[in-house]
């Protein structure tokens, strides 16, 4: 247990350091690109621009801005007011967008794991059968096809030809189904391949051969002795999978008109919404860091060979 805690503390320290670095780099990058949040088709009169600058503390020297904003984040978790979406603070934007993105990610991941693992198991058990070839072909396709192509095909198929799902929007389970499917499918394909490889490797292991020789039912051997070992690579892939789902949703949110965080990410950057962009970058950093830590932790608990350090 002690190494668990020291591990967590170490990771937390790293996270703070990473966040600080991300904050610094983003801050410098954002202010070095041309343009400012108040540039528009109409030139803003200088006196008015000064007022706007003052409202967002942009009239202070850069170092002062850097410090003030950092202090706000650290002491009050206050990411400031959005410069583009004037009526909202960054925290409010995150509070509205995060549950939506999380819902989508959860469905996509659960779907990917269930589909991927089942397909992988079937493929490995019926190795070299038609089912195996078909599933692995589908998996290669799933990895290769970008998700916006997948989304277009899915819309054509399930919205217009077979009219079972709505074309977009958010609020009902039906509306979640298609985007979650498109988001989860590439991950599922990857998991299927990992599971299959893991299964095949485990099937050649001595303890598995012994179990089969002992006369245990094949099903029991697969479930008790092969699958747990075969799933270890899948667990370690979950970290990158989360990253993939989070970034993949940027595109899908646009196609399916989903009010998640992803669309803010892009808009904040193009509109020079300094505060919102910063909020987004930091949030994604925290999310990825936490998810990776959890996966590492799970991996260490499940696999007796792995030591936390």
């Amino acid at each position: 247990m002690r190494d668990l805690f020291s591990y967590l503390i170490k990771r937390a320290a790293w996270m703070v350091l990473t966040l600080w670095a991300v904050y610094t780099v983003s801050f410098i990058l954002m202010r070095s690109v041309p343009g400012n949040p108040f540039g528009g088709e109409r030139n803003v009169p200088p006196a008015i621009e000064r007022q706007l600058m003052a409202r967002y503390n942009l009239d202070a020297p850069p170092l002062q801005q850097y410090w003030d904003y950092l202090v706000g984040i650290v002491t009050r978790f206050d990411l400031g007011w959005c410069m583009g979406l004037e009526d909202y603070s960054v925290n409010q934007v995150l509070a509205e967008g995060f549950p939506v993105s999380a819902t989508l990610a959860i469905f996509a991941l659960v779907f990917a794991i269930i589909l991927g693992v089942s397909a992988g198991v079937v493929s490995a058990v019926f190795r070299r059968s038609k089912a195996d070839v078909a599933l692995m072909f589908a998996a290669v396709l799933g990895i290769a096809v970008p998700n916006f192509v997948l989304a277009s095909l899915a819309i054509l198929l399930f919205v217009f030809m077979i009219q079972i799902f709505p074309a977009g929007g958010w609020g009902t389970l039906q509306q979640i189904a298609l985007p979650a499917f498109c988001l989860g499918l590439p991950v599922a394909a990857y998991i299927a391949r990992l599971t299959r490889t893991g299964m095949l490797e485990m099937l050649t292991k001595d303890h598995v051969r012994t179990a089969i020789a002992k006369g245990l039912p094949y099903r029991t051997v697969i479930m008790r002795h092969v699958l747990p070992g075969a799933l270890l690579p899948v667990v370690s892939y979950l970290g990158p999978a989360v990253a993939r789902v989070l970034t993949g949703s940027l595109v899908l949110e646009k196609i399916f008109a989903i009010p998640g965080m992803g669309s803010h990410f892009i808009n904040a950057a193009t509109q020079r919404d300094y505060t919102l962009a910063m909020g987004m970058v930091l949030t994604y950093t925290v999310l990825l860091f936490v998810m990776n830590t959890l996966v590492d932790l799970a991996y260490a608990i499940i696999d007796p060979r792995v030591k936390l350090q």
Binding site: P46, Q51, E86, D87, F160, A167, N267, R272
Partner: protein
Amino acid sequence: MPPEVRRGFVIFAGLVVVAAVIWAARVEHTPPAEFAFQNGTDPSTIDPHRATGQPEGRIIFELFEGLLRMLPEGDPDPETGLQPMTPQPAMAETYDISGDGKTYTFHLRDGIFWTDGTPVTAHDFAWSWMRMLHPATACEYAYLINEVALAEPFNKSIVEVGDRVEVELWDRPGESPGGEASLQHFPRGTMKYGTLRNIVKPDEPKIAKDASEEKREEITQDWRERWIYEVDVVELESDGSFAADSTATLQRYSVSPDIAQSDDGIQQAHWVLVDFQHFGGAQAIDDKTFVVRLNNSVPYFLNLVAWYPSFPVQKNCVETYGSPMWTKTENIVTNGPFKLQFRRLRDRIRAEKNPDYWNAKNVSFKTVDFVSLESQNTALNMYETGQLHWIYQLPTSVMEDLEVRDDYHSAPKLSVYFYKLNNDVPPLDDIRVRQAISMAIDRKQIVQQVTKGGEQPAYSVVPPGIAGYKGAEGLKENVQRAQQLLAEAGFPQGRGFPKISLLYNTSERHRPVAEVLQQQLQNNLNIKVEIKNMEWGSFVETVQQEKYEMARYGWVGDYPDPNTFLDLWVSDNPQSNTNWSNPEYDGLLKSASGELDPAKRMELLRQAETILATELPIIPIYFYTSAEMAKTNIVGFAPSALDLHPLSVLRFRTDDSQPAKD
């Protein structure tokens, strides 16, 4: 890890997953709105004095209401399909205009209320206009009502000795002398009124000759902040009027905290502005009468009054919650045909019918969704599956299929697509070169083969469709003449013509236009054009710093009058960025603004436009047209020149004799 822990962990992880799925599956069901439409990008604000874009405008027009409202009048034009819209009585029941066109008296109707139950009065308008013009509100549209007496000096915070001024002391709620400024400029600190007797100015700072405009501006502003204002302050009676026999006391103010701190005799102030509240051109005579005084007559003034920046907001609401918190669903107080029900970022704004609206009996829709949608394909998908009833950004790839349908609407819009030329960069400073470039462009090819949305080729800048105005002819396409002109300018067959760069903001719509233009100039004039694209923020900055040669631009009219397209190009307009200036042009626009006879005025504007279309500081390409789809069972839907679609006059066909085809 011991095996029990491992097993326990697997069970725990399983439970977490199940819990997550259950959490994710909780669905708050929102019934669909009666009427839903695509509203473009997410509105950045719904504060009428802060908003600028069209998506924001559509929402504000329904939530709020001004003295007048743009509403359809008469039948659509049989030729263009345009529905004429005029400013019609809204919060004001009637209005009088004085003979010289400089005084407008609005009489508010009875039975108009805010959504919190309080009546809408003329004082609300006076306060709202003051808020809109206040420099700290930073309303980008404030310039529209510059002709209102004292509006411009108030908005630009210009004071001169002898002016009646107001001084806002540094004591807003939560402020201490010399401390941090409160960012809420309403409610205001203690107000002092009086006459400005003197301004003590420190020595004007020397500005290096090579300083950028930005730097200059900054130094000047910093210097102005160090001014000390000496004001003869007059006390107010308890009813707000000036005391007749009170003696003025001389007070000294400065907006600089340092100066105020260093001298006990100087009080720190937020603003020293002209006294717009008492002497400005927007006054409430009583609860029902609102009088506007203009410096010069503005023929399109009624249109401005019906435009959303001049809509009222409620003082109490703004002052209680502050900005922008007052716009939150639970706080906002409005006075329009619909009221805010909820607002979901990147999703929708739901508004419901306002039962207390004075004309509620003629509002049909119970609920309306303003759906935030940028993707054209998604919008079309949602329209086709019935989730949306009206969409206005159609994918060009399927335009040909959509054009022939009954639910397709297209009509000219009051907006123009053009290229700005930097008239300071040779050889673009030569009028013959500019004319040659313009005459060598085949605009028909651009609108028919590239944009394909029914756009009209433009040879001048004012779009057709403005009542009483016939635009300038402009120079039509004429490649031979263009070659001749180029030769006269010293570039026979384009020899020796430097490569010019054409800049556009990254977009799938602008790239093909630029490419065709590049090809046409190469083929017709042997001029090499280099196409560059920049993402919007950088693009705008590059053009504003005038570091470009040719740049794409578009302009949407703010009000249906040629002036909105022409006054962009007067010499001192910061919007122009072309370095073009023509005293005759400036003079014509100036005399047009003082001309009372509409026909004469239009003629003056036409002359100005002719100069513009001959000298070509900008090269017009086409006039936009709207292309939208609206379900055929909507009654009252028709395109309008300003692209306004008041939802309060729309309704669904009830007899269903002509069901929607889709």
